[in-house]
Structure formats: C-alpha cells, structure tokens
C-alpha cells in the first residue's frame, strides 16, 4: 500500500471518505465482485439457453464442460449455472432484504431506547439483551423448525436474529449523541422528538450503521445457506445457494461439482461483502478502531 500523501487542500468529508475507500484495494475488489454477482444473477438467466427448473432426467450428473452445460447438470438434470444464478438472486436478495429489515427494526428500537432512556429505554434494551442470550444459530434453528419454510419466512427469521446487535449499537450512539449541542439546540428550536431522532441523531450515527449493514448482509447470506442446508429454508424447486448445497451433500463423492459451485459462490459473496464493510469502516471513520 502506498503511503498517505500529505495534502494541503481541505477536502469535503464525503470526498475524503471516498479517497480513503479507493485506497483500500481489497474493498474495491469486493465491491466489483459484488457488482458482478448481482448483475450476473439478475441478467444472467436471460442469457442462458437453459431454464433453472427444467428437469431432464436422462442428462443427470453431467460434469462441467462436458457438453452444453458449462457447469454441468445436477441430480435432476437441471443446468447448474442457471440454478447458480437464480440461486444467487434468492440468496443475495435474502441477504439484502433481511439486512434492510434488521436495520429498520434495529434502528427504530435503538433510536427510541437511546433517545427516551429511562424506563422505556431500559425495558427495550433488556428485551434486546434477552433475545441476545440465545446463540444465533440456536435461535434461528428454533424459529425455523417451528415455522413453515419458505422465502418470506427465511428472510424474516434471519432478520429476527440480526436486529438486536444493530439496536445495541444505535442505542449506544444515540444515547451519547443526545447530550451534544446540536441535539439540544434542535430541541430548543422546538423540533419534535421524532424529527430530532431521525434527522439529527441517527444520521450522525451513520458510520457504524453502514458498516454493520454491510457485514450483516454477509452474515445473512451465510445464515441463509445454513438454514437451507438444514432443510428449513428455501424450498424446492426454487434454488438458493444454501439448498443447492443441501441437495449436493449426498452426491459429494460422485458429483463434487454440485457442492463446489454454490460453496464457492457463497464464499465469494460473503468475502466480498466483508471486505466492503472493512473498507467502508476505514473510509468513513479512520479513527474507529473496532476490529
């Protein structure tokens, strides 16, 4: 990495952040990979001649590069690449949507608790702490085993396990920012509480929130893969990277490419989001030294 150049020109905070981000090569690489994955999943299926659910029993287990199927076919003769792309749509959307829900709920709960403090805040945070007592996977499995599996349920479940950490971070930030001058000034000006909460305090806590958001997508994708692997997530015939892994495990010795493809895809996506989150963290607040 090149040493930082000393600049005598004052940059706007946004521009400075962008500069720092650009220097974080891994984060850039991550961003590019994510873009490729998203575009590939969104538009790829239109470019392929094969449908992801078309079953061709006679052509099962075709190895990659053996014929028209670039990544081979699976146990029912479906094209693996097509399923990988459609699975990408599902896994990536679940990752992002679950993150959005988790962020929304987490920010709302955290902001309320941090701003109002007192009994309301204490009760809310105790609730958050109580749910945090369950190890994530335990909570996820317990909820998953007890609900009907599907796209919406899986998304909600994953969000349900992620919002608590966000709430905690937001609550701490809002609580500390509440006392600062600009908040007090806004109050003096007669702004309503809600306005202060969401237009003054939360935006100032944006840095850890953005970082948490990116890392949450990574976590959500991993969780989706685990839940689908256990059979509680996305149901057939829909493909997701997780349930592709689930279907592939009994054929690990006879058709390993069925497990390698989705496994690599998950690893690639999660790594990229993690690097992106790292880069954002460095860019938005280089003083923040949270590991």
């Amino acid at each position: 990495m090149t040493a930082a150049t000393i600049s005598t020109v004052q940059l706007a905070p946004g521009q400075a952040a962008w500069r720092r981000f650009r220097r974080h090569r891994l984060a850039l690489a991550g961003a590019v990979i994510i873009l490729v994955l998203v575009l590939g999943s969104a538009f790829g299926p239109y470019l392929l001649p094969f449908d992801d659910t078309y079953i061709d029993i006679m052509k099962r287990f075709a190895p990659p590069l053996s014929g028209a199927h670039i990544l081979g076919t699976d146990e029912l003769g479906r094209d693996v690449l097509a399923r990988l792309m459609m699975g990408g749509r599902v896994s990536l959307s679940i990752g992002i949507v679950a993150m959005v829900i988790a962020m929304a709920v987490g920010i709302a709960v955290g902001a309320f608790a941090g701003f109002y403090g007192g009994v309301v805040g204490a009760v809310l945070m105790r609730l958050v702490d109580a749910v945090l007592c369950f190890p994530t996977i335990f909570l996820l499995l317990a909820l998953a085993a007890l609900t009907e599996p599907g796209l919406v349920t899986t998304t909600v479940l994953i969000a349900a396990t992620a919002w608590m950490a966000v709430a905690r971070v937001v609550e701490a930030q809002v609580r500390s920012l509440r006392e600062r001058e600009f908040a007090v000034a806004a109050l003096a000006f007669g702004s309503s509480n809600l306005r202060i909460m969401f237009r003054e305090l939360v935006p100032n806590a944006i840095a850890p929130i953005v970082v948490a958001a990116t890392l949450n997508v990574a976590k959500a994708i991993l969780l989706e893969s685990y839940v689908s692997y256990l059979g509680y997530g996305i149901q057939p015939p829909a493909a997701s990277w997780g349930n592709m892994l689930n279907n592939a495990q009994i054929y690990l010795t006879s058709a390993p490419w069925l497990a390698i493809a989705p496994g690599l895809a998950i690893t690639l996506a999660v790594t990229s989001f993690n690097f992106l989150g790292d880069g954002l963290r460095d860019a938005l607040d280089p003083r923040m030294n949270i590991p």
Binding site: I137, L222, A259
Partner: protein, 316 residues
Amino acid sequence: MARYVVNRLAQAIMLLVIVSGIGFAILHLAPGGPLSQFAVSGQMTQEDLDRVTRQLGLDRPLPVQYLDWFGRMVRGDWGRSYRDGEAVLSVISSHLGATLELMATATIIAVLLGCWIGILGALRRYSLFDTLATVGAMIALSIPTFWFGLVTIYVFSVKLGWLPAGNRQTIGDGSFLDLLHHLIAPAMVLALVETAMWGRFMRSSMLEVINQDYIRTARAKGMPEWRILTVHALRNALLPMITVAGLQFPTLLGGALVAETVFTWPGMGRLFLDSIGYRDYPVVMGILMFSATMVLIGSLLADILYAVVDPRIRVG
C-alpha cells in the same frame, strides 16, 4: 464493585425469566408436537395419542404449563425428556462433556494460531504475510462452516483415509489417542472461524498498543525489542482479548452445533437439533436456559474482568 455485580446479577436473573417465557411460548405455540412421529406409523390410535397427550400434561392451557415448568425449574427439577425419560439436567450434562471438549480444543487452536498470526501481522504491517493473513482470515470467516466440514470429511476421510468420518471414539477403544484422532477434524473446522477472529482482534489490538507513547519511550530507553514485545506490548494487547473471549461463547456454541452436525459429534448442539426435531420440549427448554445462563455468565465475567483490569472503566 460489589454493588455492580449484584446489580448485574439481578438483571441477569430478570433476563433469564424473559428468555424462558419467550422460549416456552415459541416452542409450544408452534405446530406439531412430540407425538406427531407416532401418528403416521399406525401403531398408536387416536385414543392412544390423546391419552398420552393427557398423561404428558400437554392438553393443559399454556400459562398453566409454563408456570408448572417454571416453578419446578427454580426448585431444581428441570423436567424429564419425553424420549428417554431421563432428567433434563442429566441429559444435558451427558452431552456437555463432548461439546466442551470440542470448544476447548478449538479455542486453544484458535488462540495459539490466531494470536501468532495477529501479532506477526501487526509487527509486519502491510507485508506479504500480513496481506495474505488478512485475506485468509476474511475468507475463513466467509466460508460456510458446514461446507468446509463436508469437504474436510471428503478429503481426509473418504479419499485419504487419514481421519475417521465422524463420531467421538472408536467403539471399544477408549484411549486418549483415539479421542484425539477423532477430535482433529471437527476441532479444526470449528477453529476456522475462531482463528480468523482472534487473528484480526489480536492484530488490531497489537497495532493500537505498538503505537502508544510508552512503547516509544521504552524503545528510546534502549530496551531490547523482544522485551518490549513480551513485557509491554503483549500484555497490554492481551488484556482486552480476555474480555472478548468471554463474549465469544455464543458464537462458539453456535459453531459447535454446526461442527457437531457435520461430524456426528455427540454434543449439545446435536442434542438440540434432535430434541427440536422430536419436539422434546423439556430438553429444548433446558438447553435454552442453560446456554442463556452460560452466555450471561460469560458476559458478566467479561465485564467484571474488564472493570478489574482497566481502572478507567468502572461502570456505574
């Protein structure tokens, strides 16, 4: 200090009550029950199923069941498993040993390996080693653990035959060496994520410490580098790690569940999965309460240690 501890304990107990309530509600309100598995075989008639439901007390209103369970739990009777009739505490303890073995081994591997990587990475910042380590750590955090486990079994058990394909011991051979042989693969898979995390934590903690003034002063005073490293830097870098360790418990437990599933390790994670599958309510509640308690103790210890170690932090 004592007041702080008492305060936290009181909070912890309240949390446990909430946890028990939430857990109980989720479990019992969900569809299906412990007798579903018998309904399709045809051996038990509707009368038999209804009778057993009554005998298990599952036809009572939910609040009554909860209060009954809660009342017994605080008196030490955590109920009996619907499957083998053993006391829940005994069921948990018979599986706990295996999980602790796994977690302890993985933690040891993770700490040793992770700290080494982290420290070296901090000392040689931006070197090839550091970059590789960073990327490697990130990938390790991103690999689906169960996939890694499956690949490990495929490579080391099926193809190479070096390691056994699961379970804790060879039947009839209870030797320590045999246990280690079976422990390697699941511990390594579990340690994967932990190592990455310890590596990153250690690296940034070390970085923060190295740039402190007192290190520069020590150098200026002419202290040998290795002494600076061990006496000053390492010690101060490790302190926050201890507190982090306490907070790792839930992640470790969750990871253990994955490893136990893939490697057929007879631990609590496996027990949890099976009990949920069979709707063995008493055991599931027992595990939830137990792990919640462990998590709370872990975080309490972490906070206390933190306060003890760093006099600047005395939380009110």
